[in-house]
């Protein structure tokens, strides 16, 4: 090969390599920024100062608490994130669902009364009375009832007055009513806790789960199948109501006190949350209390006397609380022998 030919081949090779590397570079070079960008996601983004500020104000990414000269609650918060949730809860859920719950419970009770009527005694009243509740027990019960209904009615007026009472009383008239209700509710709220503690101490010993309660529940308390189911001083239904009232009352008291003592400087979020719990529990306890009131008055013949006069007919005691009746009789006889749970063996007979 001549030198000339060799240099030509070398030149061709150079051109080919140059072209190839050019091709590779044109393909690879534009990818470099992507490779870098993958490591650093935000590179190349221009941060709009307005957007950044309002994102902070709106608390999109994190809680931003500003500083301010004001000492009032949550003064450093520009946008109250929780407000809209709370508004939605109270206006779109608590108000309609609460009304529906109370309405449904009342309708069921009414329907039950119309279809089944009151539970009658199985024997003729004997005329012989036995003491069911002492004066102290009755006082505690009615004390709790009075405060509970004062709070329930004033609370319900605050919740539903705008829809029910403003059309009747007008805005000014209802303003006076609502103001009185709020003052009464806030003033007597704390006494409810006192009543609750007394109620608990007075009745808790007879409201502990006992053998036979499950059987009572399974038989629907004799309401569904007919016939009476054996029970002690309080049947399982009464025990459940006792615990709903105690635990519900406790939640109402704690949340209520958080709402009343706004002076302690708790945040809006805590107060909103307390209100949510307060509202739900109030409506549940009120609804369940309808059932309790029905059974204590029109629902079961001869029951009301136990809480008014303190005495019940022996026939009533035998029929509804046979084990308790036996205990009372045993105590009267002066014998300390343990009653052998007669109802369990012969349930339904009494």
């Amino acid at each position: 090969m001549s030198d000339k030919k060799q240099s030509r081949i070398r030149r061709h090779r150079k051109v080919a390599y140059s072209l190839l590397s050019l091709l590779v570079l044109t393909l690879v070079l534009p990818l470099i920024p992507y490779a870098v960008a993958e490591k650093d996601e935000t590179a190349g983004k221009v941060f709009n100062p307005g957007t950044e500020l309002w994102r902070d104000v709106r608390q999109r990414d994190r809680d931003v608490i500003g500083t301010t000269q004001m000492k009032s609650v949550d003064a450093g918060v520009l946008i109250n994130e929780y407000g809209e949730t709370w508004r939605h809860f109270r206006m779109q859920q608590l108000v309609p669902y609460g009304a529906a719950l109370m309405g449904i419970v009342l309708s069921i009770i009414l329907l039950f009364y119309l279809l089944r009527g009151p539970l009658r005694l199985q024997e003729e009243p004997s005329g012989k009375k036995i003491e069911r509740f002492t004066v102290f027990e009755r006082t505690v019960h009615w004390f709790t009832v009075a405060i509970f209904w004062l709070l329930a009615l004033t609370g319900l007026i605050l919740l539903y007055g705008r829809f029910v009472l403003i059309p009747i009383l007008g805005a000014d008239g209802f303003g006076i009513t609502a103001s009185a209700c709020k003052e009464a509710h806030n003033l007597f709220g704390p006494t409810f806790l006192v009543a609750l503690v007394l109620l608990f101490l007075t009745f808790v010993k007879d409201n502990i789960y006992a053998r036979g309660d499950m059987l009572w529940l399974l038989k629907g308390g004799g309401m569904l199948g007919g016939g009476h189911v054996s029970a002690g001083r309080f049947n399982a239904g009464e025990k459940i109501w006792f615990w709903i009232a105690i635990i519900g009352g406790l939640v109402l008291s704690v949340t209520g006190l958080i709402l009343v003592f706004s002076i302690l400087g708790q945040s809006r979020e805590i107060m909103g949350l307390s209100h949510v719990l307060h509202g739900i529990v109030a409506l549940v306890v009120i609804s369940v209390s309808f059932g309790h009131i029905y059974l204590g008055t029109a629902g079961v013949e001869g029951t009301l006397g136990s809480m008014t006069t303190g005495y019940v007919d022996e026939a009533w005691a035998k029929s509804h609380h046979d084990r308790w009746y036996a205990e009372v009789k045993a105590a009267e006889d002066g014998s300390d022998k343990i009653v052998d749970e007669p109802g369990l063996a012969t349930e339904g007979k009494s």
């Binding site: 650093d40 996601e41 935000t42 590179a43 983004k45 221009v46 941060f47 709009n48 100062p49 950044e52 500020l53 902070d56 104000v57 931003v64 500003g66 500083t67 301010t68 000269q69 004001m70 009032s72 949550d74 003064a75 450093g76 918060v77 520009l78 946008i79 109250n80 929780y82 407000g83 809209e84 709370w86 508004r87 109270r90 206006m91 605050l158 919740l159 007055g161 705008r162 403003i166 805005a171 000014d172 209802f174 303003g175 609502a178 103001s179 209700c181 709020k182 003052e183 806030n186 003033l187 709402l259 009343v260 003592f261 706004s262 002076i263 809006r268 107060m271 909103g272 209100h275």
Partner: protein
Amino acid sequence: MAAMKFYCDAERCIECNGCVTACKNENEVPWGVNRRRVVTIKDGEPGERSLSVACMHCSDAPCAAVCPVDCFYTTDDGIVLHDKDICIGCGYCFYACPFGAPQFPKEGAFASRGKMDKCTFCAGGPLPDNSSEEYRKYGANRIAEGKLPACAEMCATKALLAGDADMVADIYRKRMVNRASAALGKGFQLREQNIGSGVDLKGKVTN
């Protein structure tokens, strides 16, 4: 129907609290109540900004939606006012308000909430315009006198704008255009201007 609005220009507010003082002075608001407050975000850090906030006179006001006694009303100027003779001080408007505007003097049993007080856009209340009773309960009624809110009028940097929403928007739009063109003319560098959050152009958080 006009719609009265506030706008606080965060690029201008210098956190002097002049608006707060002007409001307290003009309306003689109750103890412990501030109808307006200035909140600073990222105090002492790059990107620090301050905003003056009071009732924003919402078009679809959450406070009015939750009030159990329905005592709010919106004037023809789009100003949200309430009737203190009806208010029971339950605090629900404060839970619902996005801006923490409703304030409560401490009164009565357990020093609980008294009747709610909030910014009236210096438009008084439902009582006769500029009567002494109106002044005592709601403060000044400058709107009835053809004046704008005291807080905005006081503002030294004109950060706080108050008035008809269209006019406020116009003023702010002009400011934005001016700012943008000034920035472009200078070969604007956001980072050099220290505008924005504490995030630099490479996306690193600097604070």
